[in-house]
């Protein structure tokens, strides 16, 4: 999966991905369901996630660079959980694959997945940026 830029491409890509049964970049229904429709809290939490996720991703890269599979696995796991909470479905899927790769000791595969994770994170930032950072 390559990094795409530009809003038209982005939206198109998301629609295509959804049609193909792949997870959407962002599904606001997830967070709203958890919060019983509280949009204000949803915006607050999404903003917090967008601040924290890049740090988590960086920590994952660091752990992989250091060859620490256990730490990398936990970072991927945490990112997976947080992504799932906010409805960042595509990011969650990649984080999950990275977690599995770390668990299996395939650090090279995990490294590639970490790159993909960065790309997904940028797509998410773009998409949420479109909406002013709030669902």
């Amino acid at each position: 999966m390559s990094v795409r830029t530009g809003q038209a491409h982005e939206v198109q890509a998301r629609v295509a991905a959804t049609d193909a049964g792949e997870p959407p970049v962002f599904d606001e229904a997830v967070l709203l369901h958890l919060l019983g429709g509280d949009r204000e809290s949803a915006a607050e939490i999404t903003a917090e996630f967008l601040k924290d996720a890049p740090l988590q991703a960086a920590a994952l890269h660091e752990a992989l660079a250091a060859g620490d599979a256990a730490l990398a696995r936990r970072q991927a796991h945490t990112l997976k959980g947080a992504s799932a909470n906010v409805g960042a479905e595509a990011l969650r899927a990649v984080a999950y694959r990275a977690e599995l790769a770390c668990a299996g000791g395939s650090l090279q595969e995990a490294g590639e997945l970490a790159e993909e994770l960065d790309a997904q994170l940028r797509r998410l930032q773009d998409e949420l940026g479109e909406k002013g950072g709030a669902p």
Binding site: S41, I45, F49, R74, T78, A82, V86
Partner: protein
């Protein structure tokens, strides 16, 4: 009700906080196991806890184990949040002392329902504790007069006797008997007798020091426990009691009773609580023999032996 949450991921922590707040819970948020454990062991700790299983350092299962080591009448109800849904993990978590677990990502309705189960159990626990406490008080109280009953005053005496032996301090015991009480019952009925008993108790309590104990030994007999007192002090206390009862008639339904009491006292030597009661009883018998309405102290155990 307050809920403690332990979650290392900042987004998940904030989300869980907001979700719980929307259900009306007050949230104490912690970011790792050590912080959670500290909060759960603090005084007035939250009674409900949601712990993430996977946390760096001390994980949720470790926290459960450590919390359960401590014996408490008010244990927290702990729900583990786990992405590890397999049976083995569930068993590990429950065996570590978790009360329940919810899989991640959690369904809010399920989490809410399970949290409500926890709240009900915590409330039930507290209601039972209150009921138990009330029963304990009831079991120690004389139903008619409201003072300690026989079992409770004797237990108190045993405790004080042990303490006196341990700390080498004196202990005084008085035994009180209402003179000719049977006459009141026989001529005016048991209701009048009960009223006299209650008034005697009321007057005794009025002249006792806060750290002395008073209980009904049976019928019209009572025990007065005077910790720290030697013979002179014990005699003063018992004299005060005799005087406050004999000084004015007790009026029941317009009828005046000139009630007096006899008291036998003994100070503790090296004997057991039973021995002390026996000597106070002997002294009481002597007081009756000598004409009633008086205080007689037993010869001290040391002189006797």
């Amino acid at each position: 009700m307050r809920v403690l949450i332990a979650e290392d991921d900042v987004t998940s922590r904030l989300l869980l906080t907001r979700v719980l707040e929307s259900w009306g819970y007050e949230v104490t948020a912690t970011k790792d196991g050590a912080e959670a454990l500290q909060a759960l062991q603090a005084e007035d700790a939250p009674r409900l806890a949601i712990l993430d299983w996977m946390m760096p350092g001390m994980d949720g299962v470790d926290v459960c184990r450590r919390v359960r080591v401590r014996e408490t009448l008010q244990p927290p109800y702990i729900i583990l949040l786990t992405a590890l849904g397999d049976t083995e993990s569930v068993v590990t978590g429950l065996e570590a002392g978790a009360d329940d677990y919810v899989g991640k990502p959690y369904d809010p309705d399920e989490l809410h329902a399970r949290l409500e189960v926890g709240r009900r159990l915590v409330e039930l626990n507290d209601e039972l504790l209150e009921a138990q406490h009330a029963l304990e008080i009831l079991a120690r109280t004389d139903a008619l007069t409201g003072v300690l009953n026989r079992g409770a005053i004797v237990e108190e005496l045993e405790r004080e006797a042990e303490r006196a032996a341990r700390e080498g301090v004196p202990l005084g015991l008085g035994m009180l008997d209402i003179d000719h009480f049977k006459l009141v019952n026989d001529t005016h009925g048991h209701a009048a007798g009960d009223a006299v008993l209650c008034e005697v108790v009321r007057r005794v309590l009025g002249v006792m020091r806060p750290y002395d104990s008073f209980g009904r030994f049976g019928g019209e007999e009572f025990l007065v426990l005077v910790p720290g007192s030697g013979e002179r002090e014990l005699r003063d206390v018992l004299e005060r009691i005799r005087s406050v009862i004999g000084s004015a008639a007790i009026v029941v339904d317009g009828h005046e009773f000139a009630v007096t009491v006899s008291l036998g006292g003994a100070t503790r030597g090296r004997e057991s609580a039973d021995g002390l009661i026996a000597r106070a009883d002997d002294a009481l018998y002597a007081a009756k023999e000598q004409g009633r309405d008086r205080v007689v102290l037993a010869v001290s155990a040391e002189e006797e032996s």
